[in-house]
């Protein structure tokens, strides 16, 4: 009797590895829900648009923070770069076509990301944290100073953005177009990030996050990978900023501020970083809570948020999705193939 031939594809770990990138049955659900939201809550489309943009921004941070393990406090620098690109081009009447505008925003933000990443990512730890913070503060100051172009402290308002495909107009009071437009852009960007993190490139980013020294030892071009992921993340953050400027028809210094950078960090960690869908869960949890609480009880909201952060940092550093995963593992008996 000959033993059965065991190829590599029969090993459970190999099967799991090969199947990891496959689309799971539940993955279309968020998108269906987002579409359902459009029809179910026409009054809340403004809020929905803001929420989708936040998800996109958090997703960009997930790429660097969750996958490449770069702790940055300056992600808003790229959001702002994208927003001001759209804003300045539209205000000066140079370019106001939305989709190409987003591509330009992504390009500018990516250039900022590449430029700063090339120098910043030579450092690590506290120095890197400080440098990302300083770069963002520097951009904010620069935007404040160049008020001939950026409107300074007041920002640029009533931006005239051309209709999408020349047909669907942006209406600030009934943000139907904005909502669907942002949803479509989010879907495209999400597909891109999803493909990226499951690609060999994404795997090497995880390797760098888990053990930089070993990745150096196996000959991976660590610096180049980090800079590339930083640049791509900056481009996506730029898209988020650009689309924010288009949807709201204004840009201000707040797009570049520490507040925005800290908020997106909180959102991502709340949802669970390094998980793709953490951006969705975190943004929904945060935005819904803040929408209903922060206006009525601003101080209680800040106190609760602080408490939440402390608890997450101490007991649940994988966020809501991490808690859900742990719970699922306990409930479900271990399967051989997973």
């Amino acid at each position: 009797m000959t033993p059965p031939v065991v190829g590599w594809t029969d090993h459970p770990a190999a099967v799991a590895l090969a199947a990891r990138h496959r689309l799971r049955a539940w993955e279309p659900i968020p998108w269906v829900l987002a579409l359902a939201f459009y029809f179910a809550f026409p009054k809340y489309l403004g809020f929905g648009t803001e929420l989708l943009i936040t998800i996109l921004f958090a997703l960009s941070l997930d790429l660097v923070l969750g996958y490449a393990g770069i702790v940055t406090l300056g992600q808003a620098a790229f959001f702002g770069a994208g927003a001001y690109t759209v804003g300045i081009l539209a205000k000066r009447g140079i370019w106001n076509e939305p989709i190409t505008g987003l591509i330009l925003a992504a390009a500018v933000a990516a250039a900022v990301g590449l430029g700063s990443g090339l120098v910043l990512l030579r450092t690590g730890g506290l120095t890197l944290l400080m440098l990302t913070l300083c770069t963002m503060a520097l951009l904010e100051e620069a935007a404040n100073l160049a008020h001939d172009y950026t409107g300074g402290f007041d920002g640029l308002d009533s931006l005239a953005i051309a209709p999408v495909f020349g047909v669907f107009e942006f209406n600030p009071l009934y943000p139907k177009t904005q909502y669907l437009y942002v949803l479509a852009v989010l879907l495209v960007c999400f597909a891109f990030v999803r493909t990226l993190v499951y690609s060999p490139f994404g795997q090497s980013l995880r390797g760098i996050r888990e053990n930089t020294l070993r990745m150096h030892a196996v000959g991976a071009p660590v610096r180049r990978r980090l800079v590339l992921s930083y640049t791509l993340s900056a481009a996506i953050a730029g898209v988020a900023g650009g689309i924010w400027a288009q949807a709201n028809a204004y840009v201000n210094l707040g797009t570049l501020g520490l507040d925005r950078a800290a908020t997106v960090l909180i959102i991502l960690v709340l949802g669970g970083h390094g998980r793709l869908y953490g951006a969705f869960v975190g943004a929904i949890a945060y935005m819904v809570l803040s929408h209903f609480l922060s206006k009525i009880y601003p101080t209680a909201w800040q106190l609760g948020l602080g408490l939440l952060l402390v608890v997450i940092a101490l007991f649940a550093s994988n966020g809501i999705l991490g808690i859900a995963e742990a719970a699922a593992r306990r409930l479900r008996p271990p399967r051989a193939a997973s």
């Binding site: 923070l65 702790v71 406090l73 120098v119 030579r122 450092t123 730890g125 506290l126 120095t127 944290l129 400080m130 440098l131 913070l133 300083c134 770069t135 503060a137 520097l138 100051e141 620069a142 100073l145 520490l258 800290a262 960090l265 909180i266 960690v269 970083h273 101080t299 209680a300 800040q302 106190l303 948020l305 602080g306 408490l307 939440l308 952060l309 402390v310 608890v311 997450i312 940092a313 101490l314 550093s317």
Partner: protein, 291 residues
């Protein structure tokens, strides 16, 4: 001659501001150097201490000196409790968790102070002998700034003595340079750290009270000046008392001068300078390379 007086008053103002920066930041530098802990809540301790001082003076009619002492003791004691209960759990945690934890702590401090005291700026009444001007020979200058400089010099000399000449100071220096080795030699790092942490927070409280006169004192203080404190620490080098001192003076004078001559864009210059400096010397201007 006018120019000379101008420069002298600028240097005096800048040095006074630098002293406050130093007093607040020195604790941050030592705790970061000692444990590698990214403590973004340090500005919060300065804010809480400033409030304790301002309220002690307003409510209980305490003098400026006793109030400063009170603020120091209260903040140091409170931070020691926090350190034992919460901070110590995160020493080996990833940086991200430390950042989140301390940001959360700052939010809670800001919210509590807003609820308990109110969101408005707390005026701090200086005693009469610190108000007005003093004649320094070449120029008249604000008494309080001169007093600040004197206090700052006293504190830095005291700290230098403690750091360089006492057993505890030697233990701290040893632990900053090589924690494992220090631990192997039987130095109780945990206790040492609680001690330094409490002392550093107490100093931050002093700085919060001393600087309230020109930095203001409201709940947002905790975040508003955090970037400045971090810059001072990063430029001065982690765990270096003298480094932080020179860095604080440098930033204080630069900031003062830039605000005066380039009111627009002075801050941008400091940020740019910090970036360049950290790229050139990631360990700071006065730090030595540690592993």
């Amino acid at each position: 001659m006018i120019f000379g007086v101008d420069v002298a008053s600028m240097v005096l103002g800048g040095v006074a501001a630098g002293m406050v920066l130093f007093i607040v930041s020195v604790g941050l530098s030592v705790t970061m150097g000692l444990m590698g802990f990214v403590n973004l809540a340090h500005g919060g301790f300065a804010m809480l201490g400033g409030y304790a001082i301002a309220l002690a003076m307003k409510q209980w009619g305490l003098g400026f000196g006793p109030a400063l002492l009170f603020g120091f003791v209260v903040t140091a004691a409170g931070s020691a409790v926090l350190e034992r209960l919460l901070y110590s759990r995160l020493y080996r945690a990833p940086e991200l968790d430390q950042v989140l934890f301390t940001i959360g702590l700052v939010f809670m401090m800001i919210a509590s102070v807003t609820v308990l005291v109110g969101p408005e700026n707390q005026p701090l009444m200086l005693p009469p002998f610190l108000r007005g001007q003093i004649n320094l020979g070449i120029t008249q200058y604000r008494t309080y700034s001169v007093a600040l400089i004197a206090v700052g010099i006293l504190i830095v000399s005291g700290l230098w003595l403690v750091f360089e000449r006492t057993r505890t100071g030697a233990q701290i220096r040893a632990a900053v340079d090589n924690r494992r080795m220090a631990e192997s030699l039987g130095i109780n790092i945990g206790r040492l750290f609680t001690l330094t942490f409490a002392f550093g927070s107490g100093m931050a409280a002093l700085g919060g009270g001393l600087g309230a006169e020109f930095l203001g004192l409201d709940p947002q203080y905790a975040l508003k000046y955090l970037v400045y404190f971090l810059i001072v620490v990063a430029v001065g080098g982690l765990g270096r008392v003298t480094g932080v001192f020179y860095a604080a003076l440098l930033i204080g004078v630069l900031d003062f001068a830039l605000k005066k001559y380039v009111p627009q864009g002075g801050t941008a210059f400091i940020y740019a300078l910090t970036i360049l400096l950290l790229l050139w010397r990631p360990q700071g201007l006065f730090g030595t390379k540690t592993t």
